[in-house]
Symmetry: C2
Subunit: 297 residues, 2 copies
Amino acid sequence: MADVTGKTVINNLCVIGTGLIGGSFCLALKQAGACNRITGAGRREETLQKAQQLKIIDGYETDIAAAVKDADVVFVSVPLGATQAVFIKIEAGLEQAGNHHAIITDAGSSKQQVQQIADNVFGVNASRFVAGHPIAGTENSGPGAAFAELYKNRRVILTPTNNTDEDAVKLVKALWQKTGASVEIMDAEHHDKVLAATSHLPHLLAFGLVHCLENMDDIEDIFRFAAGGFRDFTRIASSDPTMWRDICLHNQQPILEMMQRFRAELDMLYNAMASADGEKLMEVFQHAKNTRDKFIH
Amino acid sequence: MADVTGKTVINNLCVIGTGLIGGSFCLALKQAGACNRITGAGRREETLQKAQQLKIIDGYETDIAAAVKDADVVFVSVPLGATQAVFIKIEAGLEQAGNHHAIITDAGSSKQQVQQIADNVFGVNASRFVAGHPIAGTENSGPGAAFAELYKNRRVILTPTNNTDEDAVKLVKALWQKTGASVEIMDAEHHDKVLAATSHLPHLLAFGLVHCLENMDDIEDIFRFAAGGFRDFTRIASSDPTMWRDICLHNQQPILEMMQRFRAELDMLYNAMASADGEKLMEVFQHAKNTRDKFIH
């Protein structure tokens, strides 16, 4: 392991999944000179070729076991549904190569289930796994969407367990800091609850809104007369469906709880609307505006 | 009435309500040299003073009846709840002044009820009322939020009835075109349905989301870890509460229908989540993404 205080943090980085999240991580670390060599791996060779053309990675392997063998850090940025299969291949590759020092980290949007998978797959080596989640992204995906500044001034949450190696956490933290992000530590359960509220529920609402308009007779007019508000509100409905299906399935309980909460809110608003209760509507809108204006600048 | 094909469209414009919508209308027409004098009117003198300082209006009257007396066009941009009271004062002022040529138009976000109010208040003079709605706005309000480019390349919907004077429609259309907007004619019922879908329901969802998060224990963290998606999704929850209460009350039925439709969607998504039906989630997300990507560029 290189000196984490110096410019170069690690020698060999292996990135599984070279799309928006993984690709931007590579570009930012390259720009910071934080690692010497980046090897990509992933399911589709075409994507890896594109990532190499875009200088996101220095080389690639289609076989994950081969890709990880010299890695100091393995960064996993694949849809959550692929996590278990990828972890199994990483574990096999590291064992095969006798690589006992590599730190494994991920970028998945839910953390309790990922940690459970890591505990199951890595067993005694799970102490070298650091669960992470960058609070950043765009509605675009693939290597072409990656850019070095994605994480600049953004937050990254790490959710180590009592069993996680402290040096491993420090190293992953140092890498993220090199991308321009600030790193926060919290427990996985809290993370999953907060993200269900701020990210997962809004995505479901945006996908749901566009989907429910889709079958209306006036669909052409509906989109023709959509103003900036609608565009912004539904931007996240252009996100990657596979990624979001997986997030929903991997953060099921916290999301279901938020959906229940929102449904009660919607029922309350419906009743206020149906009874033309202007006072109630005004109270809700004013509260919401105050809260948003206070917290979001 | 001045030549609508020339640079100057009218002599005297009277604007009731000099906030974001009315103020931007004035600034755009001034920039285009489309009217010679703009008189403001409104409830609060402080707002009118500010509008005058910002050169949105050339002068003002706190009494609406006095403000409209020489008007060629009266532009009403007040919260929908104030529409009836304002229309009554306009009618009285025009009658008093013997002004039988003034065209009245508005910018309200719902059109069936506004037309009904106009029919009731203006009676035989209702033919000179042209119901209108610019599909533009920001989450900010007041004269300070107004800017000349708000309507540039945006759509404005006019919803004349069979009784509306054709020349009045032409004049209002010409004024809007001078702001850089493109004008479309549709019937009020269709307008209200389309707007309930693309604007009113999304606003309710955004207000509702922020309001339902407000009482959670983790509120500080929730907003601290809110990413760009949340910011965009909830931007419209910073909109003016009075304006939105009034829109809800004035477009009640179309909005209730959309809320029912959305609730069915939410129930479907909840069931898919609860049964971990990845196929169903994938189908909904993929459809929504395709639809949004197709219509919004």
